[in-house]
Symmetry: C2
Subunit: 354 residues, 2 copies
């Protein structure tokens, strides 16, 4: 028994989502058990495939309840098809959240399917027009989060403002930043830059920041190179730009890591150098390890849904479980509701106060 | 005298553009003289400031003609203001191209001012609705180029197709790729992903590729992480996304380089390792040096205009001169005209042939 025992939480897991499911899903849960003793799991999936992975593992079986279904979402299915199909492992995981049987749902299946099913079943929170996908990544100053990462192609000013509110909660709960800075992704720092929707959102966010309606402050436009520099804890973008930007960052990190690998192999002296610097390089690799940043969150729904990267391994899946556990512990849904209310109250009062 | 002497070219240079003008401009020219003996320069700028930098330098004075103007574009001026002001160093450089006195214009001044003045004075090529900004960068496979990088916020399918044509010429002339692959930046690889404009452009580019109207081939959608992976020689995007993506890549490269620096300083053993690997690391740094990729090109105009980064040094400015010289030698304007004609001919003929 731990002294500071956390309240028990239940995670509904789609055992069949992802490239190497259900193996990495079960292995990921095993790996996460030590760090998250508070977590219990309902596993939705094919018993023929999942049961053998659980057999003979006492600690695991104490935490996991397996619910059989032989249906899984086809990763190549169209959205309409996914929406029609009942009893899939992904759908059942989300329905468990809706029914109050689980505190959150986790899947490594298709992002599109998970997003549309989550929206269909859980619906958006009052005051949130469009849910968004958020994730976090390393920066020069620590870690930042960005949203939307692909749920919404086009957005208006109101959507962007709501994304900022949700990102603000995310930064507080997941990154542990008490007063997060938030900014809008744009192609310059001047007021006149970018789309009208961004310029209008900037006006709104300035008001929200000035009124201190939410913790932290609005820091203006963030250019592409400001993201990795850590110019804001929360970077707000439309789903198209946010998706491209995040993946561009991942791709560039992979490029420089590969250049580095080639550098060390390029001469005997360099190889010798690597031996000396080995321990520190292991730390560097750890710091940039994409598995550490696994776990994209669907924000703005009546419930918590976390998406693991489809191609991750058990280490990555365990990290996504950690993100899910933090989201539940931080009571993200209530926090977002509170943020929306605070902003609505403040902004309704502000004109009268002027 | 060199045996394979290149035909003489003339570059009209805005001596007053950029953070450290005119010093780095003149130093950059000096530095470029050896590699580009074929280049002559008309320098537009304040004689009081520029003349002392040239004094006593014989080789430099043989190549440079100074045209005095005490007017320079204010980097904070609005587009309309820039357009009205006559006799600025930037404007005179572009006018020299228009008048046929120079083969191309080069400035490290404000991108917005340079783009709008270039468009105003040189106008777009027939068959090109919107000029675009292009640049190149290192990838896992070598180098790729991307456009648009900020000239056009919103684009339609026709714009994207024309960007692909121009990028194709850029890749052949600047990167030396005989048969460039070209793709559209998007948030997924499936046909249904992204905006309608992108999907329509994909259909057009497939036709162009199938008809072999231009050298190389269309390779489909490129996701953010495909850019640094080198999935296409030419990556086509709207100006907003392209700008954010390129800067995100720059920022992430800076982040990993900084992590690397910290890694080497973090222990005595790591410092020792650095000493051994020093020579190879110098190569790595050279490979990622942003000054090597200095020089954004305005494509689709009746003339060549190259933009140097405003904050670069003489090494970076010399590289921008190199890009300008390559653009002139490769006769980019004629090549783009030919590309447009070839596509128009092929696509008009194609339906009849079906």
């Amino acid at each position: 028994m731990m002294i500071d025992q956390k309240p028990e939480i239940t995670i509904a897991v789609d055992a069949m989502g992802g490239d190497r499911a259900p193996e990495i899903v079960v292995k990921g849960i095993e790996r996460a058990m030590r760090q998250h003793p508070e977590a219990r799991y309902i596993l939705f999936g094919d018993a023929d495939q999942v049961r053998p992975l659980l057999d003979g593992k006492k600690a695991l079986n104490e935490r996991v309840r397996l619910v059989h279904t032989d249906k899984a979402v086809d990763p190549h299915a169209k959205a309409a098809q996914v929406a029609r199909q009942r009893g899939t492992s992904m759908r059942m995981a989300i329905e468990a959240v809706k029914a109050g049987e689980a505190d959150c749902a986790l899947s490594a299946g298709s992002t599109g399917a998970l997003m549309s099913l989550s929206y269909l079943i859980l619906r958006a929170l009052p005051g949130i027009d469009r849910p968004a996908i958020a994730s976090f990544f390393p920066t020069l100053k620590g870690e930042s989060c960005m949203l939307d990462l692909g749920a919404n192609l086009s957005v208006n000013a109101t959507n962007l403002v709501q994304f900022a509110l949700m990102g603000n909660v995310f930064a507080r709960v997941i990154l542990g930043v008490r007063y997060p800075t938030y900014g809008l992704l744009n192609i310059g720092s001047e007021d006149t830059k970018g789309f009208e929707s961004i310029q209008e959102a900037a006006v709104e966010l300035t008001k929200i920041s000035d009124a201190e309606a939410i913790p932290g402050s609005y820091v203006g436009y963030i250019e592409g190179d400001g993201v990795a520099a850590g110019s804001a804890d929360v970077v707000v973008a439309d789903g198209f730009t946010g998706n491209v930007a995040l993946k561009m960052g991942e791709g560039t990190a992979r490029l420089t890591t590969e250049y580095l690998r080639r550098t060390f192999r390029s001469s005997f002296m360099a190889q010798l150098g690597y031996l000396f610097a080995f321990r520190q390089f292991r730390k560097l690799r750890y710091r940039l390890d994409p598995r550490r940043y696994n776990g994209a969150i669907f924000l703005g729904l009546n419930g918590i849904v976390v998406k693991s990267h489809g191609g991750t391994d058990d280490v990555g899946f365990a990290n996504a479980i950690g993100v899910a556990a933090d989201m539940v512990a931080g009571d993200v849904v209530t926090q977002i509701r509170a943020g929306v209310d605070a902003v609505n109250t403040q902004l309704t009062e502000t004109p009268a106060a002027e």
